[in-house]
Each structure stands twice: as C-alpha cells, then as structure tokens.
Amino acid sequence: MIVLSVLVIPLSTAAILMALWTHPEVRRVIALLGSVLHLGAAGFLLQAVVDRGPISFAVGSWPAPFGIEFRADFLGASMALVTALVGLIINLYTTNDLDEPRRRFGFHPLVFVLLAGLSGAFTTNDLFNLFVWFECILLSSFVLLSLGGERQQIRGGINYVVPNLFSSMLFLAGLGLIYGATGTLNMDHLGMRTGLVEPGLMTAISALFLTAFGLKAALFPFFGWLPTSYHTPPFAVSALFAGLLTKVGVFALIRFFTKVWPDPSVAITGLLLWLSMGGLVVAGLAAMRQTTLRRALGYLLVSHIGFLTGGLALGSPTALAMVNLYMAHHMIVICGLYLVAGLIASTAGSESLKSAGGLVKTHPLLAWLLGLGFLALAGIPPLSGFAPKVGLIVEAFRLNQPVLVAGMLLSSLFTIFCLAKLWMIYAWRPQPGDTQGSQPDRLRILATTLLCACMIGLSLALGPVATWASAAQTTEGRP
C-alpha cells in the first residue's frame, strides 16, 4: 500500500485543488500541505525500500503477470523522493510569485498531476502502465508549458509537443510489437521472455524504444526540442521540467535495458554509447555560446544526459549505481540553478546577459546560491556531482571504453568553461547601468535556499546513499 501513497497523495491533491477552483487562498495552503504529505510518503517509501528491499503491490489483487503491478526498488523510490522534494520546492517558489491568470487557470492542479505521473512512472512495473503515466506527464506538461499563451511560449510549445507526441507513438508501436513477440507486459516477466525472442527482432523492437525514450530524455541527436522550448515558460516551470522530465526518459531507458531486456545486443549498447558521446560533446559545445543563463543551462542539461545514458551503455552494476546517484544529484542541482536564474532575472529586470553583473556586491546571497549551484553542476569535489562523475569515468576506463571517457572529460571541460564564463559575467563584472528589477519575494528566496541546502545535504549523505545504491544493484534480483 505504501507504494501507492506516492501516487494517491498528489492525485487527490490535484482533485481537491480543482474542487476549490474559486478559493485561491485556500488552494495555496492545500498545495503546500499536499506537497509536504507527498514528500513524507516518498521518504517513508524510500526508508522501507532501504530496510526491506523492493516493495510490490498488485493492483486489484490480480497476481503479477496478469494484473498491473507496482514495484518500488531503490532506483525508483529514490527518484520518487527527489520528485516529491522538487515538487515541494516549486510549490513554495510559486506560492506568492505567480501571475494571476496562471494561478487562476489551474497551475497548481497541473503541477500535482505532473508529480503523480512522475511518481507513477518511477514505481510501476508494467510497460503499458508506464505508457499511461508518460501520457499523464505529457498532457500536464503540455498545458503547463503553454499556460499563459505568450508568443514565445506558443513557439516553444509546438517545439516541445510535436516530438514528444511522436515519441509516444513510437513507444506505443514498440509496446505492440513486444507484446506480440512475448505475450506479456509485466517488466520482470518480460525480462524472462525477451531472451527467448530472436535477437534480431529484439534489436529492432528495442531500437523503437531507444528512439522513443531517447526523444524524451533529449538524447543526442533527438535533443533539438529541449533548448528551443525550456527557456520559454516561467522559471518555476522550466525548473520543474529541467529537473524531472528528461530524467524520466532516462529512467525508462534504464528500466528497458536492465529489466525488460537485461542483456541487450552489442549493436544497441554500442549505439547508445556513441549517442551518449555525441550528446556530451555537441551539446557541451553549444552551451558555451548561449545568450541567456537559461539557454546555457538547457544545453548543459542535454550534455549531462550523456553521463547517464553512457553509464547505462556500460551496463555494469557499479556504473548503474553511479547513474542512480548522478541522476538524483542532477535533478536537484539543475532545478536549483533554474530557480536561481529566475531570482537573478527578477532582480535585474531582464533575462539578458547584457543587464547581468555585479551580483557579488548587490545580492551576495544570490551570488552564493549561484556559485554553489555552479560548483555542484561542474562536479567540484566536496559537492555531490564529483563522486558519481569520477565513478562513471573510472568504470568506463575499467571496461575499456576510451570514447566514453573522452566524451565525459570533454563535457566536464566544456561545462566548467561555460560556467566560469557565466560566473564572470554575473558575479564579477560591474553592474551595467541602472536596472529596473525588483527585490524578489521572500518565499522564492527561501525555496531556492532550501533546495541548495538539499544539495549540501546530499553531498554530506553521499557515502550511505552510494552504499545503498550499490547494494540495490547487486541484491535486487528478479522474483
């Protein structure tokens, strides 16, 4: 039952918020309350998974291969916890600071539907159920992205919607074929049967899944939609998407290539490896010439996806544990950076780099938050990005994949270069002229600071988390 709580709480919060359509003040409180409960439930779930191993729940008491099964393992439960955390922070961030039309037309209910969809995707053990959660995520994200209907939002909306819709269709086509080939949709059950299917057919089917999930994960070369849409909505929405949405694509890839098809053919892993390498380098290069912080972050996000998919292509338990760690770290850090970018844009009155500068003197707290986020994203030692990054590179060395090592090192170099340049512009350059910005709302600063505190918290707790993640990779066998 505890597995379902991470789904039921956000979904019922969304329903309650819809029912209270005409009471904006009450809605604010309910949204925060729902988020806190969601975080609590996700915390309990992770605690239970760490204590007792994976937890299964058969919906309607139909036994596993016939009914839909939810199954939370360490990877899924840790992702669900980070999702709940990011949800709470976003709700806090938008409590006071959200324009009236967006608030009125259901911003908060949509956020909760999105959170429910993500929690569902992270805990389900049924491939078709995963498709349904993906659609749940997609529909709410479509509306969140274009809510407000500004010119550039519509532009970004189409760039976002069409590829994602197409990827859902590929996902569905793959589902049909894999069901035809194996006669089951339960992921563990599929894992037992895909080995019996002719390898050529499985490679073809998995290429469909690779494209479908790769599109959602912004894997090279399918990432064009991300940097052309993520900078268009309000900062809170960008942060929510950047933190969570591409990661669910990576998560689906991990599920497919570790559970559904546990030993993928060399053709597919090789392809995944080269695509990861492409993303690491190309997006890293593109990040360096962007004209706003948000755009640069979009490309860096795409580049860092290569670490995750590259780790998956390596496929060893150590690499997968490191991917798990890096993903949790990256979700928190990139979301935090988008939120800081939002605060900076409102103090400067504009997002453009032309009006940026002098942060160290004028807003020391923002400079601290930005610096902390940059250091964490670049993976500077005491912070949480360092250990999983080094772990992945060492593992790539051990498995004799020099291409991936080169890609990861280059991406790190580009990231540091890009962030150092942005830091010099934002923090050290004198403030250019007078700006029309205003002091951002206190709750927004509080929310961002809390998330940055979580970054430090994760860095401190990295030892035990790494132990759990590695233990989960070696002990979580199939039933």
Partner: protein, 120 residues
C-alpha cells in the same frame, strides 16, 4: 490475404504520415500526427494476432474460452491509446490555432526564433 493487406496498409499509413509531418506546414503536421497515430493503433492491433470469427467472452455454461478467439488485451490497449491520442490531438490543434493567430501563417519556419545578439 489479410495477413498481407493489413501490414502493407500500416506501412503505407506510416509513410504518408511521416511525409506529411516533414512538410513545411503546421496543418499537414496535424494530419501527419493523426495518420501515424492510427497506423500505430493498427500495428498494436495486428501484433496481438488477428483472428476472425469468435469473441473473447466465456459463453454461459462454459468454463473456458472457445477457440478461435482474439486476444482481448491488445484491444484494451488500443482503446486506452485512442482515448489518450484524442485528448493530445485536441490540444495540439488548439496550440496550432494559437500559433496561426500569432504568426499569421502555417509555415513551420515561422517557429524558428530570430537569432539573438552575441554576449557582450
């Protein structure tokens, strides 16, 4: 006979849908999405085995299904997928209507963002 006709039809629908999606027009993009969506549904339908005559319903007095019967799960999957694609397509149409209101054209190139100035 239908063993050959239906796969060919699915392939044709995919081809036409993809061709329309790659054209430079937002309206054709919608039609392309509709066709690819339908091709996908047919693919799921076909992949769960085509059986003619017989329903997957246990008759009164029987303990098991009478052969031949089609796989009901495949049909249930399509039903779900059709409902979902209904919703998403409705949203895409509204979005493209809004884009037409803003840009006054259904040319996809209108969506390309103007290049911004270099960083100082």
């Amino acid at each position: 006979m239908s063993d050959l006709v239906i796969p060919l039809m699915i392939g044709f629908l995919f081809a036409v849908g993809l061709y329309l999606m790659l054209r430079q027009s937002l309206i054709k993009l919608i039609f392309g999405l509709v066709l690819v969506g339908n091709a996908t549904n047919l693919l799921v339908f076909t992949a769960s085995r085509l059986v003619s005559g017989g329903t997957p319903i246990v008759r009164k007095g029987d303990k098991v299904l009478q052969t031949p019967f089609p796989d009901p799960l495949g049909q249930a999957l399509i039903l779900t997928a059709i409902v979902i694609s209904f919703g998403t397509l409705a949203f895409v149409m509204v979005l493209i209507k809004r884009a037409y209101d803003y840009f006054g054209t259904d040319d996809v190139c209108a969506l390309i963002e103007p290049e911004e100035e270099e960083i100082a």
